[in-house]
């Protein structure tokens, strides 16, 4: 047991199904999450956001079992208790344009039951400072840049020092420097909390996640470490001077050579695989991999 009373499995999802109309978005999905940063990778429609919304208690599964800190979110009282320990950055967090940054975060702080004015304001100042937004506290949200709004959305997720952080594409709109600061912040938070984030950025996964789950069509096709994901592409990454014959996945790199995934092209030299290589190969092969 650690600071927030987490066990190694703060979150347990077993055989969860969710459909939207005729489309099955999650199919018998199971996962256990402990302390640390876990990244969810997958193409659009893979079920990442649906899974995050179920864990954030804003969406109910059709079937299966979810336990968060041992609590059952299908029970109203336990659901409220889960929400007390939760920080959630949705994919589309929304905002009230006429609010200032401070007012918007304060509003969420009230929803998170920070009722004492001084304590609430102190917490709002803290999360604005964490996300480097102290100078924009009195700026109307509509006047903030996209990156600043994204940081503001992250700020509200940090309110109350939650034990479980769920971040849906948190680095969208951030410039490289902001992304680096974000990684530093999240990796620090992951030392004592459970952080689950979805992203399309394999660099984010390589840089800050201890564990990565690749989703495809509602199922996990990989669950392991980032280096394990990279090693999926071992012996299948090549650099060559000329374009390989189709149909293999290749692209031209900045030095004018061709990087090929899969079968070796004529004259191809073997190259070290990266997380992105493994990810792309996995999406090309639906085969289930565990590393």
């Amino acid at each position: 047991m650690e600071k927030h009373g987490l066990t190694d499995a703060a979150v347990s999802v077993r055989d969860v199904n969710r459909r939207f109309g005729r489309k099955t978005v999650l199919e018998r999905f199971s996962v256990e999450l402990g302390r640390g940063v876990t990244g969810l990778l997958g193409p659009n429609g893979a079920g990442k956001t649906t899974l995050l919304r179920i864990l954030a208690t804003t969406l109910a599964p059709d079937a299966g079992e979810v336990r968060t800190f041992g609590l059952d979110p299908s029970d109203p009282a336990q659901r409220t208790e889960v929400r007390r320990r939760l920080g959630y950055l949705p994919q589309d967090p929304g905002y009230y344009p006429h609010f200032t940054a401070f007012e918007l975060v304060e509003y969420v702080a009230i929803l998170k039951e920070l009722t004492g004015r001084r304590e609430r304001h102190r917490e709002v100042r803290r999360v604005l400072a964490e996300t480097d937004l102290s100078g924009a506290a009195k700026t109307k949200v509509r006047k903030l840049s996209g990156g600043m709004r994204q940081r503001l959305a992250l700020a509200q997720a940090l309110l109350g020092d939650p034990a479980l952080l769920i971040l849906d594409e948190p680095t969208v709109g951030l410039d490289p420097e902001q992304r680096m600061r974000f990684r530093a912040l999240v990796s620090r938070l992951g030392e004592s909390r459970t952080v689950l984030l979805s992203t399309h950025q394999t660099e984010d996964v390589a840089a800050l996640c201890e564990r990565v789950i690749v989703m495809r069509e509602g199922r996990a096709v990989f669950d392991g470490t980032p280096s394990g994901l990279a090693s999926v592409a071992s012996g299948q990454v090549w650099l060559s001077e000329s374009a390989p014959p189709a149909p293999v996945l290749f692209w031209r790199t900045s030095d004018g050579r061709y990087r090929t995934l899969g079968a070796a092209p004529p004259g191809g030299l073997s190259a070290d695989p990266g997380v992105e290589d493994g990810y792309l190969l996995l999406l090309g092969n639906a085969a289930e991999v565990s590393a």
Partner: protein, 283 residues
């Protein structure tokens, strides 16, 4: 006082303890402001200092209180509830302006209608028809993914569901009733009858919340508003009297419906945390 002068340890101790007169305090403060060595010699309580900075930051950084929040606090509403309600989308200016406009038109219509001498109360029908519906528009906009841009964030907080919807609905109802109450004495006709909108208003609002335990507040409000307006129209056009829906018997029925709906909301309040989603036992 020259640059070589430094306050003695005793003077600094008495300064920190607040035992100096104002002239001595000014001397010590003007010195320690430019002398780092003496400044570090002043003992301080870390907790007190932090709390003081907090207090200063709270005054400097705190957002201005919105007029609505000020009004609510004046009425005895707790500070955090007042701040929360002032952010209610349904209470924003456009809804209040719309309510005032609708009421103004209804009052004007009552005055401009050429009454049939045999049916002098018909002039009140437009007002009595629209007044009960006004809070429904506010309740429809009080909670839900389609009406609140911050809904997804809000839905993952402990205040999600019944607490948010009921607080906002109550605020909407109070504002709508207050505005309608102001308009009522401006109507022609007996004051008692002009106030006949109140119980249908309560019944429709409570009914909307009761239906919201099964459907979205938006759909619930739209369905009840449409049903009410259809009933009033049918009563006015087909009935022997334009005002059967406001008779004492009907008023009693509205009162009963309001009570029954309120009880239903209380019993099913957990189901208000549903929006577009259905939490059900996964055991």
């Amino acid at each position: 006082m020259n640059a070589q002068w430094h306050p003695s340890g005793d003077l600094i101790t008495r300064y920190a303890a607040g035992r100096l007169d104002s002239v001595q305090v000014m001397s010590v403060e003007s010195h320690i402001a430019r002398c780092p060595r003496c400044r570090t010699a002043v003992p301080y309580d870390e907790g007190w200092l932090e709390s003081s900075w907090d207090g200063i930051a709270d005054v400097v950084d705190a957002p201005r209180t919105r007029p609505l929040a000020r009004m609510l606090r004046g009425a005895g509403v707790p500070e955090h509830v007042a701040t929360f309600l002032a952010a209610t989308p349904a209470l924003v200016r456009s809804w209040v302006v719309a309510v005032v406009a609708v009421l103004s038109f209804a009052v004007a219509a009552a005055h401009l209608a050429a009454p049939d001498p045999s049916r002098p109360l018909d002039a009140l029908v437009p007002f009595l028809a629209v007044a009960p519906v006004l809070p429904l528009a506010g309740i429809a906009l009080a909670y839900g993914p389609r009406v609140d841009p911050v809904h997804e964030v809000q839905a993952a907080t402990p205040m999600a569901g019944a607490r948010t919807l009921l607080l906002r609905a109550l605020a909407v109802l109070v504002v709508a009733i207050a505005l309608t109450g102001v308009a009522t004495p401006l109507l022609p006709g007996p004051p008692g009858l002009a106030a006949a909108w109140l119980t249908p208003s309560l019944a429709l609002s409570a009914g909307t919340l009761a239906l919201s335990t099964r459907f979205s507040p938006l759909a619930s409000a739209a369905a009840l508003a449409a049903a009410w307006l259809a009933a009033v129209t049918a009563g006015g056009v087909l009935g022997p009297d334009a005002l059967p829906l406001f008779s004492p018997a009907a008023q009693a029925a509205y009162g009963m419906a309001a009570l029954a709906s309120t009880l239903l909301v209380h019993l099913r309040r957990a189901r208000l945390d549903r929006g577009e989603f259905r939490w059900k036992s996964m055991a």
